[in-house]
């Protein structure tokens, strides 16, 4: 068969849709936008303003005050430290669980998903309270260990860093598992089969193929957990000791007890700035990965 005319086979460029610049549907978003600006953005901006105007003419003195005091800086570093530990705990527990969800049959995976989602949607307060009950000196765990004779004195589990980590990880685990699972289930099992066909042992295939492909999900999960952990309040307040204080507790303390709005606002601005910075940096990292053909959705 003779070839078709070359001139005609020139590929037709994709048609760029020239819609009108603003269409009718756009107005529908307006009520929500106005609402959020008034109820959400304005308070935040007012707070940011207060951080530099309270006491009058404060400028950056509130921020200065924060970084000058050892005690305050220690709270900040402790916050990072606790958030990091919580992230690692969630990673270690969550990765095998997410992987498990991809290899079990559909119905079981559905049940596992429910097991992850139910606590995800349950009250944070209830869950933290539950941990309080579990970890107290007279709590469930100690009672069990005492009664069965493993120990003779109650272990100090509450008012410790490990108690906080345990509680926070429990609450944050779904935020680690869900993004990882979303990425993992997109990984085509054909890759592992191809690797096996080419001579890789199951362990080798897992390490060299599955894990690298799952990294975007791991990154997303870790980022999410870390950023959320930074802002935790209820859990460290109920489960932590004085030395485990996190920055959100400090903020509440300044506002409600010391009534120092300027200082409290400054710390709040700081917390938001740190959160946004992490998100921004990580969003760049994840996007670069997308260029290499990952399986993330966003």
């Amino acid at each position: 068969m003779a070839t078709a005319d070359e001139a005609r086979s020139r590929t037709w460029p994709s048609l760029v849709s020239a819609r009108p610049r603003v269409n009718r549907w756009s107005a529908l978003a307006l009520p929500a936008v106005v609402f959020l600006i008034a109820v959400f953005l304005v308070p935040l901006l007012a707070m940011a303003l207060r951080s530099v105007t309270d006491p009058p003419g404060a400028g950056l003195s509130n921020y200065q005050q924060f970084f000058e005091q050892q005690a305050y800086v220690r709270v900040l570093t402790n916050t990072f430290w606790v958030a990091l530990l919580a992230t690692l705990t969630c990673l270690v527990v969550g990765y095998p669980f997410a992987y498990l969800m991809t290899i079990v049959p559909g119905r079981v995976a559905g049940l596992l998903l429910i097991a992850v989602l139910l606590p995800f949607w349950s009250s944070l307060l209830v869950r933290t309270f539950a941990w309080q009950v579990l970890l107290r000196d007279t709590g469930v765990i100690n009672r069990f260990l005492l009664d069965s004779g493993f120990i003779s004195e109650p272990l100090t589990l509450i008012r410790t860093t490990s108690g906080v980590i345990l509680g926070m990880s429990h609450i944050l685990l779904p935020f680690m598992v869900l993004p990882m699972y979303a990425v993992m289930r997109r990984i085509d099992p054909e890759y592992s089969r191809a690797a096996a066909n080419l001579g890789a042992s199951p362990l080798s295939a897992f390490l060299r193929i599955f894990i690298p492909l799952s990294l975007p999900g791991v990154l997303a999960g870790c980022l999410l957990v870390f950023v959320l952990a930074l802002g935790f309040y209820i859990t460290p307040a109920l489960l932590g000791g004085l030395k485990d204080q996190m920055i959100s507790q400090l903020i509440v303390q300044q506002i409600t007890q010391r009534l120092d709005w300027g200082f409290g606002s400054a710390m709040s601005v700081l917390l938001v700035a740190i959160t946004l910075t992490f998100l921004f940096v990580a969003s760049r990292a994840v996007r670069l990965r997308d260029l290499f053909g990952s399986t993330t959705e966003e």
Binding site: A2, T3, A7, R8, W12
Partner: protein
Amino acid sequence: MTTDPSMPARSAAASTSPERPALVLRGLRKDFGTIAAVDGIDLEVRRGEFLTLLGPSGSGKTTTLRMVAGFMAPTSGSIEIDGTDMTRVPPYRRDVGMVFQNYALFPHMTAADNVAFPLRMRRRPAAEIKKRVADALELVKLGSHGDRYPRQLSGGQQQRIALARAVVFEPRLLLMDEPLGALDRKLRESLQLEIIRVSRELGATVLYVTHDQEEALVMSDRIAIFSMGLIEQLGSGEDLYDRPASLFVADCIGESNILRGTYEVDGGAGGWMTREGSRWRVGGAAAARSELSSGAAAALVVRPERMRILDGEAVTDGMNTLDASVDEVLYLGPDTKYQLALGSGQRISIREPREANARGLQRGDPVRVGWSVDDGLLVADPGKG
């Protein structure tokens, strides 16, 4: 037929005059940024006609159809349906029926509710709706499936319901956007016949879009070949097959063997195609139709079934010949297809009825190919882009 005041009134002349075309497109253009998807189309579709827009993807046929449906506003030009200018009329007032490639049946309604939808929109009385829906379902032979939801129906059944929905309100025009593209071959063939039957029964005017040339040939009264936003040629299947106006059209419909070269006029009728040492006679009719002048870059197009392998028979004046070697022999049931390689490396194909193949040709065997001069079509060769 509809008395809904929101629909533009049909002029009396339109519904009784058989001469007035059902659809007239004048200078229809659609630009997307700097790209002209539809580059100035003029088309008249006769009442009761089945006209297909055929072309590769991106050629503008779907865009044209969507403008007729009212989903897209043309950049310039006009659309006249049944004598009424509909260029600026929104889609829900045009009174045309449309069948989509992915059926677009409302998933939350039963088949019957889907078919009833256009009648409900026109606020027809309940009793009338009930009857017309039943009739429409009968028409597509799915009378007992009215209670089913789309997800409970097969692809072919869904498409028939979509068809019923598109015709139940007796539209002025029926538009179909590659409706059979999602179906497998056997189903496609049976639905092609269904669609023809239904449209004939209703006396409907159909504007059909497809990229499948066989489908176009089977179903259409006339075919408009689209290329890069323009209609290359408009005519019946036979017109396009036997008398293509350009190389593109020749390639679009049916298979072609294309011999490129230079055309030389020869005093009287017809002329010669020359190419590096080969020379073939061009018939007078073909030459006249092509309107090519001497020295023009041209292509001689011969359909595979018009060529045959010469078993040493004498070559007469009314014949052209070629020397080639056998590349592949393909058994196609009733026909045999030979892929041959020319000295230049170009490949051509020949189709012969099975009975003629008693030769037992093998790969590499030399053959001489011949065809009647009158079977050669002459078109311009636009050259390599």
